[in-house]
């Protein structure tokens, strides 16, 4: 007691301050503050000589296209981690970038002989000012989106060297003036357990992302960046919208206690974690997790997924200017494999378009009119075997330290599989002759996401160990529908008989060959579709970690016999509407 009081007395020296803001994302984070200062961009006015105006307009155009490319990467990340609904948030940012006020007005001002930075900030200031005049809070808050886009553009005008959240390598709670959605994504990938900002609102994209990523956050604190010093102890209470800087021991104790209670509640939800995904009549399904980053392995295990069903290795290639080395691949994969033991990790070799690699010194990559049907994924790997081998060497070496399986993306037929296997065998031979260890029995699988592969699954499965159906692309390629195109999005139908028949064909081909088959597209995470997927005979469903308990719960309440019946009916019956109703009713948890 005496000791406790003394400690209390000591901490009184550091000034306690309590700030009230907006509760943006629930949960409590306690840690050391990391101050993330925004860069100041020089937006002062400069005159541009008449001869240089063209050059200045081009400089602005280049910044626009670089910002656009950066936002597309963010959108892709959001799409892959959180799905289509969230990716729409990124669309709004892209549209702001394409707004005639930016593309036309700014260019017009530049044409009068003014530098791009000043022209842009003049236009944005006017727009932001008119947003500030709005009474409705929701609309008023959109000014943050505009400011975010402006900041990105300015940083590209300044040469694109912007310090990002991704550069922070220590654990803690990050405090800044405002964060962009891509900053928030990086927080989860790093060691940042919560955040607090000066500005922002509850409906900002950053807040929405924080909620779905389960990162506690308080925003709109006005001057938290001025009040905090790097290294201060900080409590972010995302339930109440309160931030406490240098809390007393008593406050700290209370918060720790409250945090524990909340963890208990979360555990309650995760009670299913250690129970098998088994139907009431004893049919066992494996629930795997889809991840992009080694830091997600903790979440995979805490949500009760049995291993990684899809590791999207292409994220190793994002946001960098040189090709990842064999050592980087190896470290990344072995870290995941070790953490996931005794479960396995399926590493999908890079699923990228050539445009992503051209920034890293890959030459001879042409811009393609239709990259989705172009030189990407396994096609790119086969065209540039050196890059492919570097990754394979990393994967193989890591396979000595855990259970790793390899999966090739976008195989369209047997030929590509045989060609990829040949390179894999060569790589194994190289490692053997160098005396480097790897798993000699490493399993190789194929991602079935091209209709031609689904139709020839029998030929493909004869030369690999497993199949995993990637429904996002399979649906898009089969139904000729761009899933992010609003005009046709309503035609994107996972229950189209063509899709169900393709899945069934793949499942049967694998089973006839005595091999297992999984499904790792967004379809696997849709609770209303779980029963039909179980009924189609899939052995594994791979979903994002947070979705795993939900899907497991449904499987545990499903009868396999009934699920099979439903799946068969859906494959055959022309009265699909009625059947959809039937199984939606059946699956209401």
């Amino acid at each position: 007691m005496v000791l406790a009081n003394r400690e209390k007395g000591l901490t009184m020296n550091a000034k306690v301050s309590i700030l009230h803001g907006i509760a943006a994302s629930p949960g409590i984070a306690i840690g050391k503050a990391i101050l993330f200062r925004d860069e100041e961009f020089n937006t002062s006015k400069r005159e541009i000589k008449k001869d240089d105006i063209k050059k200045e307009i081009k400089r602005f155009g280049d910044a626009l296209s670089k910002t656009n490319a950066e936002m597309l990467v963010t959108k892709e990340k959001i799409y892959k981690t959180l799905g289509k609904e969230y990716a729409r948030l990124a669309d709004a940012h892209l549209l702001i970038l394409q707004d005639p006020l930016i593309t036309r007005e700014v260019t017009k001002i530049i044409s009068d002989g003014i530098n791009a930075e000043y022209a842009l900030s003049e236009v944005l200031e006017k727009v932001i000012h008119s947003f500030e005049m709005i009474d409705d809070e929701y609309f008023r808050e959109r000014k943050h989106d505009i400011a975010d886009v402006g900041k990105k553009l300015l940083s590209h005008l300044a040469g694109g060297v912007r310090r990002t959240i991704a550069d922070i390598k220590t654990e803690g709670v990050v405090v800044g003036h405002n964060f962009t959605p891509s900053d928030t994504l990086s927080m989860r990938e790093n060691l940042l357990i919560g955040f607090a900002t000066d500005i922002g609102g509850k409906t900002s994209h950053t807040a929405i992302l924080a909620q779905s990523l389960e990162i506690p956050a308080v925003v709109g604190l006005r001057d938290v960046t001025a009040k905090i010093s790097e290294g201060d102890t900080i409590v972010v209470d995302g339930n109440q919208g309160i931030v406490v800087i240098n809390p007393s021991l008593e406050m700290l104790e209370n918060y720790r206690h409250e945090k524990e209670i909340q963890l208990e509640q979360t555990k309650e939800l995760e009670k299913l974690k250690d129970l098998p995904a088994q139907t009431i009549d004893g049919h066992r399904i494996v629930i795997g997790a889809n991840i992009d980053n080694p830091s997600e392995t903790a979440s995979v295990l805490s949500h009760g997924a049995e291993g990684v069903g899809l590791y999207r290795s292409e994220f190793i290639y994002f946001n960098r200017s040189s090709m990842p080395s064999e050592e980087e691949h190896y470290k990344n994969y072995s870290r995941i494999a070790q953490k996931m033991m005794p479960y396995s990790v399926i590493i999908r070799t890079f699923d990228l378009g050539g445009d992503k690699l051209s920034g890293m010194g890959l030459e001879g990559v042409a811009t393609e009119g239709n990259p989705f049907l172009g030189m990407r994924a396994i096609r790119l790997s086969l065209k540039y075997p050196k890059i492919f081998k570097t990754q394979l060497r990393g994967i193989l070496r890591a396979s000595a330290e855990g259970k790793i399986k390899i999966m090739y993306p976008m195989i369209s037929g047997l030929g590509e599989l045989l060609a990829a296997n040949k390179i894999l065998e060569e790589t194994k031979e190289e490692l053997r002759s160098e005396g480097k260890k790897f798993d000699e029995n490493i399993e190789v699988g194929v991602m079935i996401e091209v209709p031609s592969a689904a139709l020839t699954a029998d030929q493909i499965v004869a030369h690999c160990d497993f199949l995993s159906i990637g429904t996002n692309d399979l649906i898009q390629y089969t139904l000729a529908i761009d899933r992010v195109n609003e005009n046709v999005a309503s035609l994107y139908d996972p229950l189209h008989p063509a899709i169900l028949r393709l899945i069934k064909n793949v499942v049967e081909a694998a089973h006839r060959a005595g091999k297992w088959v999984g499904l790792c597209g967004e379809m696997a995470a849709d609770p209303s579709l779980t029963v039909v997927l179980v009924g189609l005979g899939l052995n594994e469903l791979s979903v994002s970690p947070v979705q795993a308990p939900k899907i497991k719960k449904i499987i545990r309440n499903t009868s396999y016999a009934q699920a099979r019946e439903l799946a068969n009916d859906l494959l055959e019956s022309p009265n699909r509407e009625e059947l959809i109703k039937r199984f939606k009713k059946h699956t209401t948890p």
């Binding site: 729409r88 709004a92 549209l95 005639p100 947003f131 609309f139 008023r140 505009i146 609003e486 309503s490």
Partner: protein, 87 residues
């Protein structure tokens, strides 16, 4: 030039997603598109302009289209208002 009066039928008003849908649709046409709310006029191809209208549920707006495909443009844009932006 044609003009039409429309009413916002979705509960949340012309928020980010409907505004995006409107702008994307407007961009398909070569005609100039304008939206007027209580005398405030904005470019129908500008998402920032549209959002500054802060048009809420039941607000009446005037749509203007001017150009070679003004008829098609007005029809399609009125259409998305009528089905409440699919929400």
């Amino acid at each position: 030039m044609i003009e039409k009066i429309v009413t916002i039928k979705n509960k949340l008003g012309l928020h980010a997603r409907p505004a995006a849908l409107f702008v994307q649709t407007a961009a398909k046409f070569s005609s100039q598109i304008k939206i007027i709310k209580d005398g405030q006029e904005v470019d129908g191809k500008s998402i920032m302009g549209l959002m500054t209208l802060a048009a809420a549920f039941n607000t009446q707006l005037k749509l203007l289209a001017n150009g070679s495909d003004e008829n098609e443009a007005i029809n399609e844009l009125v259409g998305i208002f009528e089905n409440g932006f699919g929400e």
